[in-house]
């Protein structure tokens, strides 16, 4: 119940910033949009580059990548690093009887939900204007599983980013790290190109890393590219990743808090 209150409080705050949030949404949208135009130029003959990937699939893919990118990817690491750890606001959280992990999750949720709302609206508008270009799965079970995959993806992203944010306990100039992670994410999550189209060695690395499970797999799940066994498989791998991330988070948190409270702020 108390977490719900935090959620509502932040909702109001986010609402005030809705214009700013809209700009962020457009930011996530631009690159996929440009890439759609790129592929339209590249696939002028209407051919398929790889079986199963026609121009319609590509457009649907990048469109959803933009939405999942805005909706599912967490950006809480900057807040944690800059505000809580470096500026010392963390103390306020420590004296409360709530789990820091869950508080940060609920703090960020409104922003993600608002972005998701922008995404849904854009999708609906696009569907009505250019319906022919977007093709999503129409099978209810697939959609349900896709939603599960998306939610798991969001949790993986949130846990990962929270852990990254906590690294500020040890690293002072952390922004260089964020830039590197951002680029790794863009390449291996399938934001530049769908994994299916990447050169094989890149694809192999992408499947070993967790990033594809935040963006790529939710996206192709919604497009309907995955069969039921494959969907289940993805969910399984996501659970493994999530479990792993939580364990790492706990370890980092415990070590970090020891250091933080020992030195004081």
């Amino acid at each position: 119940m108390r977490y719900l209150k935090i959620l509502l409080l932040h909702f109001e705050h986010v609402f005030e910033q809705r214009l700013r949030s809209l700009v962020w949404f457009v930011v996530t949208f631009i690159n996929p949009l440009v890439l759609i135009l790129f592929w339209r130029g590249a696939l002028k003959g209407g051919q398929e580059i790889v079986p199963g990937w026609s121009i319609t699939t590509i457009v649907s893919y990048y469109f959803l990548v933009a939405i999942t990118g805005a909706f599912l990817v967490s950006h809480i690491e900057e807040d944690i690093a800059e505000r809580d750890i470096q500026k010392g606001e963390l103390v306020r959280y420590l004296i409360k009887p709530f789990s820091y992990y869950w508080i940060k999750l609920f703090e960020e949720a409104p922003y993600r939900i608002l972005q998701g709302a922008y995404g849904i609206v854009t999708l609906v508008i696009f569907y009505f204007c250019f319906g022919g270009f977007i093709s999503l799965s129409k099978d209810p079970l697939t959609i349900c599983l896709a939603i599960v995959i998306a939610l798991l993806g969001a949790f993986i992203s949130a846990t990962f980013k929270q852990t990254i944010g906590l690294l500020a306990f040890w690293i002072t100039d952390i922004f260089g790290l964020y830039e590197v992670l951002e680029v790794i994410h863009i390449v291996f999550a399938g934001v530049v190109m769908p994994l299916a189209l990447l050169p094989s060695f890149v694809r192999i690395i992408a499947n070993i890393l967790p990033f594809a499970y935040i963006i790529y797999y939710p996206t192709v799940a919604f497009i309907g590219q995955l069969s039921y066994p494959e969907l289940i498989r993805v969910i399984g791998i996501q659970c493994v990743w999530l479990g792993f991330m939580i364990i790492v988070y706990r370890k980092v948190w415990n070590a970090g808090i020891k250091k933080f409270t020992a030195i004081g702020q």
Binding site: Q17, L19, R20, V23, W24, V26, V27, I30, N31, V34, L35, L37, F38, R40, G41, A42, L43, I49, V50, T172, D173, F175, G176, L177, E179, V180, E182, V183, I186, V187, V192, M193, L197, L198, P199, V202
Partner: protein, 264 residues
């Protein structure tokens, strides 16, 4: 007389920025990381995208890489001379520091645009030139002095066009100071200039047409370098640069009338 003053002030600013570089090491590493990471990413991106397609709108894979290198070359200059100032503009307007700039007997747009420098931008320019030279040699393109000079001049023209577009967008911050993330948006939009202009043209979408002038910014100088330019393109680039630049100056002066600084 006036030009001399602006040159002297810029020279002094260069000196101050150099001094500040050695004084503040922390920010430097972050900026260097950013330049290296994003500078390299652009090449990774074009290599990945062209791994599946051999040509797009008449641009071969090698030409697309050259376009990216040209973009990188000039974009490094943009980062060196201008980029930091745009992030600063949103702070300056939001915290009312614009007052101190307006009180100075110098053109405020100049002071806002050229105050700070980012020396790490030169990394991108150097990387871009290395890759340009390499690509030009392996594709056996014959490049004359005229091509190179045309490339530079039109590239600077393209930069001016991009700068004017940025400044117009940033001027909106006077009415909406909280929208500082508009700068992120601008970075992404400018990324379009790494691609052939036809991708916008072919989209035949009214909304995207306003981006068309931008797409000429980097593609046209590159075409000059590769001897593939249509003179209509050059004319359009010059025309748009002129228009956008004047528009940026007019709009800025107009917006200042509405500037109400923080803390009355």
């Amino acid at each position: 007389m006036k030009i001399k003053k602006y040159f002297r002030v810029y020279k002094t600013l260069l000196g101050l920025n150099l001094s500040a570089l050695t004084a503040y090491r922390g920010g430097f590493y972050a900026m260097m990381a950013s330049s290296v990471v994003w500078g390299s990413f652009q090449y990774i991106s074009v290599l990945l995208l062209t791994s599946r397609v051999k040509s797009i709108f008449g641009w071969s894979r090698n030409e697309l890489i050259i376009l990216t290198a040209a973009y990188s070359f000039f974009w490094g200059i943009f980062h060196f001379v201008l980029a930091r100032n745009f992030s600063r503009i949103s702070r300056v307007i939001d915290y009312g520091e614009l007052d101190l700039i307006l009180a100075k007997p110098m053109d405020s747009q100049f002071l806002m645009s050229f105050w700070m420098m980012n020396f790490t931008g030169l990394f991108r320019t150097i990387l871009g030139s290395i890759i340009l030279i390499y690509m030009l040699s392996i594709t056996h393109v014959i490049v004359t002095a005229a091509n190179v000079i045309g490339f530079f001049l039109l590239g600077l023209c393209g930069l001016t066009l991009i700068y004017s577009f940025w400044f117009i967008m940033v001027t909106f911050l006077i009415w909406y100071p909280r929208l500082s993330n508009i700068i992120e948006l601008l970075y992404n939009i400018t990324g379009i200039t790494r691609y052939p202009p036809q991708i916008i043209y072919e989209a035949k979408n009214f909304v995207l047409f306003f981006l068309l002038p931008l797409t000429l910014a980097m593609a046209t100088p590159t075409k000059v370098l590769l001897n593939k330019v249509i003179y209509g393109d050059v004319a359009w680039l010059l025309f748009f640069t002129f228009i956008f630049f004047l528009l940026s100056r007019w709009f800025w002066k107009f917006a200042l009338k509405f500037y109400t600084s923080a803390s009355g």
